[in-house]
C-alpha cells in the first residue's frame, strides 16, 4: 500500500459517498417521511379529518369487514383486513380479484388491480368518500422501489446504494480520527471547517442509528440480494419458503373448484386474542374465500414487540378449526432477522420513539447533504488555485448541479406533492398518478434548472420556494377542507396537527437557510491553512 490505511479509507469514503449520494439523500428523506406514513396518508385525505371513527370491539369490526367483503369482493383470490389502531382508526379492507378468464393463474397480480375500502369500524359503512391518493405509501415505496421502473430494478439500485452507504459509514469512522475530541464541536461561519463540523456532528451523534438503519435496510431485502441459501433448500418454490418463514399459507396454492361458505371470522379472532393473552389482532388474510380450501391467517397487532416476526395463527376457512401457529418455536436466526426488520420499519415505536427515529433520520439527511456539499466546497479552491480564468471544471460543475437538483430540488418537490394533493380536482381519473407526476415534474424542473445555473442564487430560489411551500402547508390544509391547526389542536387530533407543525418547522428551517445564503452573509472561503 503506497499510502497509509487512513488515506485509502478517506479515498473510499469520499467516492463511495459521493457517487451514490444523491440517491441516498432521496432514500433517507423518503424513508424518514415513512415513519409518519399513516399520518401523511390521513393528512392527504382531508375528507376524513371531520371525525375520528369510534373505537369498537374487534369482533364487531371484523364481522362488518367480512360482510362488506362478501358483498363487494366475492370470488377474490385474497382478502386483507387491517384492524383499526391508535394511529389509523379506520378499518381497512382490500382484496385481490380473481384473475380474468384465460389469464395465467400463477401470474403475480399487479398492485393497481387491488380493490380497497376504508370502513367505519362501528357501522361498516365506507368512510366519507376520501379522494384517491397514494398518501404516505408513495414515500414508503419510493424509498426502496424507486418509481417509473420495475420494483425489482429499483430494489437492486437502492441495495447497491445502501451497500455503498455502509462502506461510507465504516470508512468514515476510520477516516475521522478525532471522533471523541471533536464530539461536540461545531464552529459556524468558518467556511469549509463548518461543513466538515456539521458533517461530523450529524454523522457521529446519530451513528448508532445510521449504522442500524443502513444494515437493517439491507436485511429487509436480504432474500433478494443473497438468494442462494433459499434456492439451495427450496429449489423452484420460493413461496413455500415464505410460507414456512411467516407461518402463513403458501401464496400460490390453487383455489379448490368446490365452493363452500366462509366460516364467521369473529370466533377465530376471539380465539387468537385469547391465545395472545388479550393482545389485539392486527391483520387478517383470507386466502381463496368462498372455496373449499379457504384459509384464514391472523397476525398479532404491531406496536408492542420490536420484532417484525409477529405471532400468527392459521385457521381452516370453512370449518373454523385451528390449523397451525400455536406455540410455534422460532430459531435464533429467524428471531434475529425479525428484530432487525422490526428495527428498520420502527412500527413498534410509540410517539416519543417515533419522533426520535424521525429526528435521527433528519440527521441522516443532513449527513448525506453536508457530505455531498463538502466535496464541492473542498474541490472549488483547489481548482481556483490552478485555473486563472476563474472557471471550474466539468466534474465540479456537474456535482454542483446535482447537489442543487438532488438536495434543494427534492426539498422543493416533496411539498409540491402535498400541494398537488389538495389543489388537483377531486375525482378525476388517475388522480394518484397525477399527484406523483407533479412531484416528479417539480423535481425534474428543479434539477434541470440546477444543472443549468449551479450557483448561489439558484440555491436561494429553490430552498426559499421549498421552505415557503412547506411553511404554508397549515394554511393550505385549513383552506382546502382539512382540519386547520386551531381545530385539530382543540380536538386533540395529534396526527393532523403534528403534520402541520412539522411542515411549519421544516419550512422555517429551509427559509432560514435561504436567508443565510443571502449576498450579505456570504462567507469568504479560507484558502490559507485549509490543506488539512
Amino acid at each position: 500500500m503506497k499510502e497509509g490505511f487512513r488515506q485509502s479509507m478517506a479515498w473510499l469514503h469520499t467516492w463511495s459517498g459521493l457517487l451514490v449520494g444523491w440517491i441516498l439523500f432521496m432514500v433517507f428523506a423518503a424513508g424518514t417521511a415513512s415513519y409518519f406514513r399513516d399520518e401523511i396518508t390521513l393528512w392527504m385525505k382531508p375528507e376524513l379529518h371531520a371525525a375520528a371513527p369510534a373505537r369498537v370491539p374487534q369482533a364487531l369490526a371484523i364481522g362488518l369487514a367480512q360482510q362488506t367483503l362478501e358483498e363487494r369482493a366475492g370470488g377474490s383470490r385474497r382478502w386483507f383486513i387491517t384492524m383499526p389502531t391508535a394511529r389509523n382508526p379506520a378499518l381497512e379492507a382490500s382484496w385481490i380479484p380473481a384473475p380474468p378468464e384465460g389469464a395465467d393463474p400463477q401470474a403475480r397480480p399487479k398492485r393497481r388491480e387491488f380493490g380497497s375500502a376504508t370502513l367505519d369500524p362501528a357501522t361498516g359503512r365506507e368512510l366519507g368518500a376520501a379522494r384517491a391518493t397514494r398518501g404516505g405509501d408513495f414515500f414508503f415505496r419510493l424509498h426502496f422501489d424507486l418509481h417509473y421502473m420495475s420494483a425489482l430494478w429499483g430494489r437492486w439500485i437502492v441495495g447497491v446504494c445502501a451497500m455503498c452507504m455502509l462502506v461510507a459509514i465504516l470508512s468514515g469512522v476510520v477516516t475521522h480520527k478525532r471522533i471523541f475530541k471533536d464530539f461536540f464541536t461545531f464552529r459556524p461561519a468558518r467556511g469549509q471547517r463548518s461543513w466538515l463540523d456539521a458533517h461530523n456532528a450529524s454523522a457521529v451523534l446519530a451513528l448508532p442509528y445510521h449504522l442500524m438503519i443502513t444494515y437493517t435496510g439491507l436485511v429487509t431485502l436480504m432474500f433478494m440480494y443473497l438468494p442462494s441459501g433459499v434456492q439451495a433448500i427450496y429449489p423452484d418454490k420460493p413461496d413455500a419458503f415464505y410460507a414456512d418463514l411467516n407461518g402463513g399459507p403458501a401464496g400460490n396454492a390453487k383455489p379448490a373448484p368446490e365452493r363452500a361458505a366462509l366460516a364467521p371470522l369473529g370466533p377465530m379472532l376471539e380465539q387468537a386474542t385469547r391465545s395472545w393473552h388479550g393482545a389485539p389482532v392486527g391483520r387478517i388474510t383470507v386466502t381463496h374465500p368462498g372455496r373449499a380450501n379457504a384459509t384464514v391467517n391472523l397476525v398479532l397487532q404491531e406496536g408492542r414487540d420490536m420484532t417484525q416476526d409477529l405471532p400468527n395463527l392459521t385457521f381452516d376457512g370453512v370449518t373454523g378449526k385451528l390449523l397451525s401457529g400455536a406455540g410455534r418455536e422460532r430459531g435464533g436466526a429467524v428471531a434475529t432477522r425479525g428484530v432487525m426488520y422490526g428495527l428498520h420499519v420502527g412500527r413498534f415505536a410509540d410517539p416519543l420513539m417515533r419522533a426520535l427515529f424521525f429526528l435521527s433520520g433528519l440527521a441522516g439527511c443532513a449527513m448525506v447533504a453536508t457530505g455531498l456539499l463538502m466535496w464541492a466546497v473542498k474541490e472549488r479552491p483547489k481548482q481556483l488555485k490552478i485555473r486563472a480564468d476563474g472557471k471550474v471544471g466539468f466534474g465540479l460543475r456537474l456535482v454542483d448541479g446535482l447537489n442543487l437538483g438532488g438536495i434543494a430540488g427534492l426539498l422543493l418537490a416533496m411539498p409540491v406533492l402535498f400541494w398537488a394533493n389538495r389543489l388537483l380536482p377531486v375525482g378525476g381519473a388517475g388522480r394518484p398518478d397525477l399527484e406523483i407526476a407533479c412531484f416528479f415534474g417539480a423535481w425534474a424542473i428543479a434539477a434541470v434548472a440546477g444543472l443549468a445555473f449551479p450557483a448561489r442564487p439558484m440555491w436561494r430560489l429553490q430552498l426559499g420556494l421549498g421552505g415557503a411551500l412547506f411553511a404554508l402547508l397549515p394554511v393550505l390544509n385549513a383552506a382546502t377542507g382539512g382540519a386547520g391547526l386551531a381545530t385539530s389542536l382543540a380536538r386533540g387530533q395529534w396526527a393532523i396537527a403534528g403534520f402541520d407543525l412539522v411542515g411549519l418547522g421544516l419550512g422555517a428551517m429551509l427559509l432560514y437557510a435561504a436567508l443565510r445564503l443571502g449576498p450579505r452573509a456570504a462567507v469568504k472561503p479560507r484558502l490559507a491553512g485549509s490543506a488539512a
Binding site: Y209, L356, S360
Partner: protein
C-alpha cells in the same frame, strides 16, 4: 396514570442526557474555554468532577429509558435520546456558548424534578 409516568420518564431521560453531555463537554478544554474565555485554566478537580457528573447523567438517562420501554427497547430509546441531547448541546455550543451552563443546570433540574415526581409516590407510600 401511566401516560403521565411515561412523559415524566421521557423528560428525565432527555434532561439527564443533556446535562450529562454538557458536563462531559465542559470537561474538555476547548469547550471549557468557550464558556470561561480563551486561556481560562481547567482545574484538574473540576475536570474530574465534570466527568463523573457526566457519566452519572448518561447512566440516569439510560435507567430512565429502560424504566420507560423495558430492557430491550430501552437501549433503542436511549440511542435516540442521546442523539437529541447531543444535537441540542452542539447547537448551543456553536451559536450561544455562554448559554451552555444554563442549558446544563436547566436540564439537570428538569431531570431531577421529573425523577422526583416519578419516585415520590413509591417512596411516600
Amino acid at each position: 396514570m401511566s401516560g403521565l409516568r411515561d412523559i415524566l420518564l421521557a423528560l428525565a431521560a432527555l434532561g439527564a442526557a443533556t446535562a450529562g453531555f454538557t458536563a462531559l463537554s465542559l470537561a474538555m478544554e476547548r469547550h471549557w474555554e468557550q464558556l470561561h474565555g480563551r486561556g481560562a485554566p481547567l482545574p484538574v478537580r473540576a475536570r474530574r468532577g465534570l466527568r463523573h457528573a457526566g457519566t452519572v447523567g448518561l447512566l440516569v438517562s439510560l435507567a430512565s429509558c429502560i424504566a420507560l420501554r423495558g430492557a430491550a427497547q430501552g437501549w433503542v430509546a436511549w440511542a435516540g435520546v442521546l442523539t437529541l441531547a447531543g444535537i441540542t448541546l452542539v447547537l448551543v455550543l456553536g451559536y450561544a456558548p455562554r448559554g451552555v451552563a444554563r442549558l446544563g443546570w436547566g436540564a439537570a433540574a428538569l431531570a431531577l424534578l421529573a425523577l422526583a415526581a416519578v419516585l415520590a409516590p413509591a417512596l411516600l407510600a
